[in-house]
Amino acid sequence: MTSGAAALETVVGLEVHTELKTATKLFCGCPNRFGDAPNTNVCPVCLGLPGSLPVLNRQAVELAMAIGTALGCAIRPSSFHRKNYFYPDMPKDYQISQYDEPINVDGHLALPDGTLVGIERAHLEEDTGKSTHVGSSGRIHGADRSLVDYNRAGVPLVEIVSAPDLRSAAGARAYVAELRGILVATGASDGRMEEGSLRIDANVSVRAPGAALGTRCEIKNLNSLRSLQRAIEFEADRQAALLAGGGTVVQETRHWDEEAGCTVPMRSKEEAYDYRYFPEPDLLPLVPDDAWRDRVAAALPPMPAARRAALLERLGDATPAQRDQVASVVADDLDRFVTAAADRGVPAALALARVANEVAALEDPGALDEHGVATLLEMEAGGELSATQAKTVLAEHAASGEDPRELARRRGFERVADGTLDALLDQLIAQHPAEWARYREGDEKLAQFFVGQVMRETSGKADGKAVVAGLAARR
C-alpha cells in the first residue's frame, strides 16, 4: 500500500448480477441453460424478431421476491422500463429492466462479523447474448470481427445493488461470499461464478475518514472473489496515489485486467450514453399481492446465518477451526449432511470434520443424499468402520449411490472384535520390544507404527482409534 492510501478510507458499493435458476428465460419459453450449442435456445422473443412480445416468467418473479425477502427488502409494486442503447449482443437494442420502480427496495445483509450492509434495491432484468471476438488477440480490442450467440439473451437476472457501506476489499469479498450463500440458499442461483452466473461491478472511491464520499470509479468484469478483492485493492491504491500526487479521480468505468493485475479505463463510445428509459409498453406493471408475497416468504428455507448459528449450537464450544468449517459447509450448502448425521446421533464435531474435509472434496457433493452420508458417519462413529475405511466407502458411495452398509460388507470391512485386537496387540508388543520401549518413554510417533502393524495384520479392518486406546491402556 502506498503511503497515501494508508491515511484514506476505501468506500465500496457493489452491484451483483445473478442469473436466476429458472427452467426458461425471463420473457419466453426457451431453456435457460448454460453450455448448449450456439443459437439453439432461441425463439422470436429472445431474438427480438419483429412482432414478438415478452411475457413475464412467474418463477423468475418468485425467485426475485425470495431474494428480496431473504435480504429484508420491502417487496413493492413494480414496473419494467426499456433501457435503450445499441449493442450487437442485445437483440432488441434495448434491455428490459426495472428502473424507478424495482420489485425489492431497502434491505440489508449482515456479514458474519456482524457488519450490516444496506441493500438499496434488487431488481429484475434480462441478460444479453454473448460475443466471441475473432482475431489475433481474441479480445475485443484488436479483433477484426465478433460472433454472437443469443442463447443467453433473455436469461433472467436479478441485480442487487448495495449501499456504499463497505470499507475494504476484504469486506467486499465477505459481502459477496455471504450474498452468494444467500442466493444459493434461496434456490435463486447456482452460485457458479466461473460460469458467469454471478457477475460483479464494484464502485470504488477513497476519502479521508469522515469526509464526504469521493469520486468513484466503477470496475467491471469481476468474476471471482479473488479478482474482486485484488481489483478493489488496486483501485483504492491507484486513487489514493492519484490524490496524494495532487491529482483528481475522474469518474469513469474501468475494466479489471486479471493477467496484468490492474484496472484500465474502458474504451466506450465518445458520446455520453442517454438510455432514454421509458415504461415498457409490452408489459403490464408487476404488482405482487400480499398472498403472493406471503407464499414466497413461507417457502423460504433458513438462510446461511441461521444455519451457521444452528450448527454452532450443536457443536457447543466451537474452536476457531470449527467455526471456519461451519462457514464453509454452509456456504457450499453442505450443512444439511452434518445436520442429518447429527440427528442420528453422530457426534456433531465428527460429522462436521468429515463433511468439511471428505464430503466437500468430492466432485459433486451436492448430489449426494443425506441419508447415505449419515449412514456412513453413523458406522464410523459406532466403530464399525475405521476412518480410512469410511473414506473408501464414501468415494464408492459417491460414485455409485449404493448403500454404504452394502459397500462396506462387500469390501469385507467388518469390525475387528475387541478380543481379537487385544490378542494381536499383545503379540505385536512382544515382537517389537524396542519400539514399545520408545513408545512407553513418550514417543507418540510410535503409536502410528503399531497402528500400521495392526492394519497390515487385519487388512485395514481394525479401528485405528481403538488401537491407540489399547496401546495407551498398556503403557
Binding site: G51, F86, K92, S146, D274, R276, F278, P281
Partner: protein
C-alpha cells in the same frame, strides 16, 4: 360483389369450392393490381394449398369455420411464416419470418385463405401509403388519389373487390382513415381485444389490429374470429371475443348518440354534411342524438405525435443489420448500424425515430413524453365523461376525401392532420369504426366514424349497421 359471409356459406354448403373462390381472387389481383399496387407479395401457391385444405375438410364433412374459403389480404406488417414480410421497408426486404402472427393463425383456423401481403406506409407510419419503400398504392376510385394510410393496400384491395376482407393495423387511424378514403368499413377494436403477437410494432401502446371489409357484417365476423385472449401478448385482454355478430340487428332504438364537435370541426363541408346526415339517420332509427363537446380531444394530435414516435424510436432500434434484413457493410459495427439504418429507412421513418428519440432524451422526457402520457389520461377521462351521457359517439373519420398523390408529402404537419379525428380512440384505447356514408363533392367516398367505450363493440356494430343500411 359477394360478401365474405355469403362466400363462406357457399363454400361450406358445397355450392362452390374454396379453390374456385381463391382462383377468382387471384385472377382479380392479376387484373387490377398492376394499376393499384395494393399488394407487395401475392402468395398464389400458398393460397391454393390452403384452399385445397378447406375443400378437403368440406369433402370430409368437417366444418372449416365461419370464413371457409374466404380470400383475405394481410397488411404486410403481419408476420407470416415462410412468406416475405417487409412492413414496406427496404430494411426488411427479403425477410421471411420463422413464425406467424396470432391473428393470421386464427383466420386460417376459421377457414380463411390469405392470398397476399398488402402495401402500407413504411412501418405503418403515414396516412397515404406513399411512404412505402416499394412505391405507393392508388385509390381504386381515382388512381390519381391516395388510398389513405397506413393500411392503404388492404383498403384498396377490398374497395377494388379483389378480396372481400383484409386485415390492417390502427395506431392513430391507420385502419379507419384509409377505409373512409376507399369507401369500405374499417374497425379498430378496443386495445387488447386482438393479439398483437406477430404484428411488427410501430407504437406498442397504441397499435391494434382490425378488419377492413365491404360490409359491417363481414367486419363483425372477422373480428369475432381474430379477437380473444392470447397468452403470447401480455397486453391482451383476459376475456374472449365480443359477441358482435349476434348484436348486428340490435338497432339504435333508445340509444343516446353524442355528435362530438371536436370530431367534426375543421372537416371539409361535404364531410360535415355527411356526418349531419348520419346523425339524422340514427335519429330516424330511434336514437337520441345530442351535440356535445370534448375539448381535451384537441390535445390528442400533439400527444400522439410525441408518444407514437417515442415508442417507435425504441421499437425500430432492432433493425441494425445484425440478425435479419438489410446490412450495409462498414468497417466496424457502429458504422455498419448507421449505414444500414440510413440506407434502409425512408424519410418519414427517420423523421419519427428522431422525433421520438428527442422526446425521450435526457432533459426533454418530462416536457414531451411524460407530458403526453398525462394528456393521454386527460383524453381517457374526457371520453369517460362523455360516455356517462352517451352510448356511442359520432364524428367524421377523416377531414377530407382522398387527396391527390404527392400533395402532402413535403409538409409532414399537413399529413399528420389527416389523423386528427381518429387519434383520440387510440390514446384512450377504446373502440371505433368507420362506415362509408355517401360521397363528397368530388364523387369520392366519405366515411363517418362511430366510437364506443372499451369492450362495447356490440353496440358499436349495431349502430354501424344502421348507418350502413341508411347510406
Amino acid at each position: 360483389m359477394t360478401t365474405a359471409v355469403e362466400l363462406a356459406e357457399r363454400v361450406r354448403s358445397g355450392a362452390t369450392t374454396a379453390r374456385a373462390t381463391v382462383e377468382a381472387a387471384l385472377g382479380a389481383v392479376a387484373d387490377h393490381d398492376g394499376a393499384l399496387h395494393a399488394f407487395l407479395h401475392v402468395d398464389g401457391d400458398g393460397a391454393r394449398a390452403a384452399a385445397d385444405r378447406v375443400d378437403a375438410m368440406v369433402a370430409d364433412g368437417r366444418d372449416p369455420g365461419p370464413l371457409a374459403g374466404v380470400p383475405v389480404a394481410l397488411k404486410d406488417n403481419l408476420c407470416t411464416r415462410g412468406v416475405p414480410t417487409t412492413a414496406a421497408s427496404r430494411i426488411l426486404e427479403g425477410w421471411t419470418p420463422p413464425y406467424t402472427a396470432t391473428v393470421v393463425d386464427r383466420l386460417v383456423a376459421a377457414g380463411a385463405v390469405p392470398v397476399g401481403k398488402t402495401n402500407l406506409d413504411e412501418f405503418a407510419m403515414g396516412s397515404s401509403t406513399e411512404n412505402s419503400g416499394f412505391g405507393p398504392t392508388r385509390n381504386p376510385h381515382d388512381h390519381t388519389r391516395v388510398p389513405g394510410g397506413s393500411s392503404g393496400g388492404s383498403a384498396a384491395a377490398v374497395a377494388a373487390g379483389m378480396v372481400p376482407l383484409g386485415l390492417g393495423s390502427d395506431t392513430g387511424g391507420s385502419i379507419r382513415q384509409p377505409a373512409a378514403l376507399c369507401g369500405v368499413v374499417g374497425m379498430k377494436p378496443t386495445y387488447g381485444m386482438v393479439s398483437r403477437y406477430g404484428l411488427i410494432a410501430f407504437a406498442s401502446s397504441l397499435d391494434q389490429i382490425g378488419p377492413l371489409a365491404a360490409t359491417v357484417e363481414d367486419a363483425a365476423v372477422c373480428l369475432e374470429v381474430i379477437a380473444g385472449h392470447d397468452p403470447m401478448d401480455s397486453t391482451s385482454l383476459p376475456e374472449g371475443p365480443p359477441s358482435v355478430v349476434a348484436a348486428l340487428d340490435d338497432g339504435v332504438d333508445g340509444r343516446r348518440v353524442g355528435l362530438v364537435r371536436e370530431l367534426v370541426d375543421g372537416a371539409a363541408d361535404d364531410v360535415v354534411a355527411a356526418v349531419t346526415r348520419a346523425a339524422a339517420a340514427l335519429e330516424a332509427a330511434g336514437a337520441r342524438v345530442v351535440e356535445c363537446s370534448v375539448p381535451e380531444l384537441r390535445l390528442g394530435l400533439s400527444a400522439y405525435y410525441l408518444i407514437a414516435p417515442a415508442e417507435a424510436s425504441s421499437n425500430l432500434a432492432r433493425y441494425d443489420g445484425v440478425r435479419y434484413g438489410l446490412r450495409v457493410d462498414a468497417d466496424d459495427v457502429t458504422a455498419m448500424n448507421v449505414a444500414t439504418r440510413t440506407q434502409g429507412f425512408g424519410d418519414e421513418v427517420k423523421r419519427r425515430i428522431m422525433l421520438g428519440t428527442y422526446a425521450l432524451s435526457a432533459g426533454y422526457y418530462d416536457a414531451y413524453y411524460g407530458q403526453a402520457q398525462r394528456v393521454r389520461t386527460l383524453v381517457a377521462q374526457a371520453f369517460a365523461a362523455a360516455y356517462a351521457d352517451c352510448d356511442v359517439l359520432l364524428g367524421a373519420t377523416a377531414p377530407t376525401t382522398a387527396f391527390a398523390l404527392g400533395s402532402r408529402t413535403t409538409d409532414p404537419m399537413a399529413m399528420y392532420l389527416s389523423d386528427v379525428f381518429t387519434i383520440p380512440s387510440n390514446l384512450s384505447g377504446e373502440a371505433a369504426i368507420t362506415v362509408p356514408f355517401g360521397a363528397g363533392a368530388d364523387g369520392l367516398p366519405i366515411g363517418v366514424q362511430l366510437l364506443s367505450p372499451a369492450r362495447a363493440e356490440p353496440r358499436l356494430f349495431a349502430a354501424a349497421r344502421v348507418l350502413e343500411a341508411a347510406a
